[in-house]
Symmetry: C3
Subunit: 210 residues, 3 copies
């Protein structure tokens, strides 16, 4: 595959990832009685919140401030939810796939962005940045809704990013080039997420003290 095609593919996945992330925020905002502005903010924060935390920690300008894709796709997500409100429930599988592709992409982007910095961090920092980029937007969404973050209680979500990140560094240690490691990492995130939802796999709860 030529590099041109890879870049095009990344842009497309980025756009549908933002779209899916924003929709998840906007739908929850709608169910809590938010106005259109509030729904937009929650959608945007869901879409860009994880990447923003990642970029602030890395000391670089947050990606949405230099690329209009994110604000544009959030506006489109808002229009989409308003127009297709009653049909959204029939699109859950499609939105799940979009969300999963976004999750995989942001994991890889977070890892590569951290590795590209001058400073050499310990190996678990790129994985953490990948996981933040993929999953922290959902935490911010739930904080804005005054609810306990979903990803702390349900399903494999952020842990799929961690799993993919570990595989990335295993590939790397085995001598794979970055593009190969990227694809394997993304594939593992997608597979882990789909298998977890398909077979109802989740992380065990931590037991109460009684």
């Amino acid at each position: 595959m030529a590099m041109m095609d890879v870049n095009n593919m990344i842009d497309i996945i980025d756009a549908i990832g933002v779209f899916a992330f924003a929709i998840s925020g906007i739908r929850m905002a709608a169910n809590k009685g938010f106005d259109l502005f509030g729904a937009f903010v929650v959608g945007f924060a869901t879409a860009i919140g994880g990447g923003t935390i990642r970029d602030l920690l890395l000391g670089v300008t947050p990606v949405w401030m230099t690329n209009s894709l994110y604000v544009t796709m959030t506006i489109m997500a808002l229009l989409f939810v308003v127009v297709f409100r009653k049909r959204l429930i029939h699109m859950n599988v499609t939105l799940f796939i979009f969300d999963t592709f976004g999750l995989a992409l942001y994991t890889v982007v977070g890892i590569e962005k951290t590795l590209a910095m001058d400073y050499v961090y310990p190996w678990w920092v790129p994985i953490t940045m990948g996981t933040l980029g993929g999953a922290a937007g959902g935490i911010i969404r739930d904080v804005l809704l005054a609810e306990i973050p979903l990803i702390f209680k349900k399903e494999i979500y952020a842990t799929a990013c961690i799993f993919g990140g570990v595989i990335f560094f295993i590939c790397d240690a085995l001598g794979a080039n970055h593009l190969v490691s990227d694809f394997v990492c993304a594939g593992v995130v997608v597979a882990a997420r789909i298998l977890a939802v398909r077979y109802g796999i989740s992380i065990p709860k931590i037991k109460k003290e009684e």
Copy 2:
């Protein structure tokens, strides 16, 4: 008007804006049973939270760390609430005016601060920074109170900043100098906010999926 007078006026509006923002946080903290320290923190976070997020995103030192005005005015707001507790309800109109002047000032400050950066952002970034500076402190206040942010459900508040910001760039495109654009922007924010409250105008809710 001489530049000296404009600067003096800005300092005065800044002080009363911080005062009003801090009071809104302190009053809510009082109604939730916070102690004096907690009330101070919520007041301070309401006053400086929006500007802090703006400044972190822009990569500059948050303004309250280099100017004692903000912490001083928050302490004065705390004393004010403690002393005039029973009379506060009769000052709601005055506090609303103070709050609105602060909102307008922080909108303009956020826009100008972003435009003054070396990096040239897309036009909607300065507007976003103006809106964050004006309205994000209230979001942080509500998160600290474990409540859904008021501005997502009620009234024209952050949207007044956005409206003012758009007008700023229209003035700019029409060839107005920055000082004129600043004043028009601030005037629009104040007018939008007052008219919205006076006539009960609000943003439509986004409909639930059912």
Copy 3:
């Protein structure tokens, strides 16, 4: 005491401080039905959240990104809570002491780190950074649990940091060298915290408006 010993002592206090902070987050997460991943995140955020906010405000790389101590101690804290779940309640005094030592250390670290920056901030900024480093992790923990932050309603906690910070600058003004000021500051934080809990001293509530 040789400098070597002081550095060793700081590393040990840092480790037990992180351990105690992480355990406080993990225990609360367990009581809210979080899974192991969620408990880890809340524990880690409690341990490193305050220092992260401090470092972002100061414009430096957050300390946990360059030192594996924090993630390692959080993993150990998670294992500890899982293994000793039923005996934790009998360790409350020990964990309280650990937590208090951590609080004192992070207060001093925040002050010294701010003073070491090129930029000279007003005197209350280092105190604020010390207080954030010590106490803001607990605020983030409670926000992630969708609860009102404990430290806004109960006991002397963050105020012990402020008190220690003021004493630091009094020592400094009296001509003490930094190491002496550090120890006096830490001692005051520990003493204030222990006396407050022992004698049930707390900050007065701010009265409601009725």
